[in-house]
Amino acid sequence: MRHRHLGFTLCLLATAAAAQSYRAPRTPDGKPDLQGFWQALNTASFNIEPHSPALGIPGGLGIVADPPDGKIPYKPEAAAQQQQNFRNRAARDPLHKCYSPGVPRMMYLPFPFQIIQTPKFIAITSEYAHTVRNVSLDSKHISDLDFYMGDSRGHWEGETLVVDVTSNNDETWFDAAGNFHSDALHVVERYTRTEPDVLTYEATIEDPKVLTKPFKIAMPLYRHREKNFRLLEYECQAYAEEDQK
């Protein structure tokens, strides 16, 4: 009995070690190859915090990894603003106006995205409203401008692609539940291939105007393995105009 229990523990340890020691295939310049089609399999696009199910909304554990309670550490006035956003989400959610989703929201929309990787430049293209993130590597941020998708600059730390995102405007939300940020948003993302078909995504989110302290989100992204998979289109604006006719 005791031996069997030990065997089970060892087996678990071995699995964890295998996951940790996974080494991604390499690009021609020797970097971990993150290319392919990825998509989140969670409910963060509805709400990044833990949430109960509701009509049309599956319940979810959220993707906030720190603080441990899974809640965004809002300042009191920002918490009130989020409640107001939630009540008025049908009119106020920027995605209902077909705006660009911003970072990190693009990464957990229910649409696939593709990573296209070269030594100095990485494009991350989403199927949602043909949103693109241009990630220049080992380059300097620009300043004095704001963008819906921010200004992304990347570098490699071993197996991990680190992307620093500044110059965000205050017109995007984190999710459909009214969780929001200001133009002081600063996101540092970490992309690591931890298994052949898993890209582990972690991000630290700072916003001193809205938060009492930074918080972290984390989630696995899963690889699409369908034969001949490709991004199609979701031209939100065009469909919205048809709907208004």
């Binding site: 705006y99 070269t118 494009a123 293209t125 001949n228 289109e233 939100c236 105009e241």
Partner: protein
Amino acid sequence: MRNSIQRGLLGSLPAVALAVAAFALLPSPGAGQAPQKKGGGEKGVGGAFGKFGPYHQPPYAKGAPVGRTPEGKPDMQGYWEARFNAAIFEVQDHAAKRGIAPGKGAIVDPPDGKIPYQPWAAEKAQDLFEHHIFLEPEAHCYMSGVPHQAYTQFGFQIVQTRGYFVMLWEFAHTYRIIPTDGRPHIPASIKLFMGDPVGHWEGDALVVDTTNENGRSWFDMAGNFTSDHIHVVERFTPVDSNNINFEATIEDPTMYTRPWKIAGNFGRNLEPNYEQMESACVEGNRDPERYVEEEGGKSKKAK
């Protein structure tokens, strides 16, 4: 000033009118020097609005021999701008008309430079231009479709990686991801603004076959529309490190009496440290509100 572009410049009639005025006054930089004689910028719309304007065409600069990617294919990566005469206004050879600068288009076949329309389609294009210019797709921030996307404003970036040839435009952040792995097209029932591109290499030329377009894009700002039966075969042929020749054959038996062909070329953007900025078109678009009723819009005509 070109950063945080928040409007569909092309679709804005005031902007177009201004461009026509600018076109009349400005010389065409680089005229006559393009590597491909026909349909390729010999009478380009030049510097309207200056270096960062929507109708800028790059001066010709001879390049070095074409490099190779790690996969051994011609390396066309970097930032490019289009030279397609005045096709950005109208793809056919055309005289000046409301909002349209006069000039050559990009049609190299038939030799008269005109789209070989069936009569009904010619009538419809005329009607769209005269009475429904409100429907011009770029005014609504729609992606421009194929082959129109090749000669849209502000230039684009080419990124090549194993199995893909990727084009990223600044205007409205449109992208095209062209697989080169020999895969088949998607089912014909799927219709998309940018269609389904499938590429292959013929020597140093990238040949791209595009089907599955939704028939909602135009070739220009002059009402030259498409149907969802359009089939386009493009050839991207690198000339040297600074120049790419482009041609596209367009077929649609429901609209034309015969296939026809456009040609133009792309010049490398040689500005050091150039990067594309965000062009948030949908987010700031006020163009549709400007169209008056006689243009198919909803605004009352200013008295």
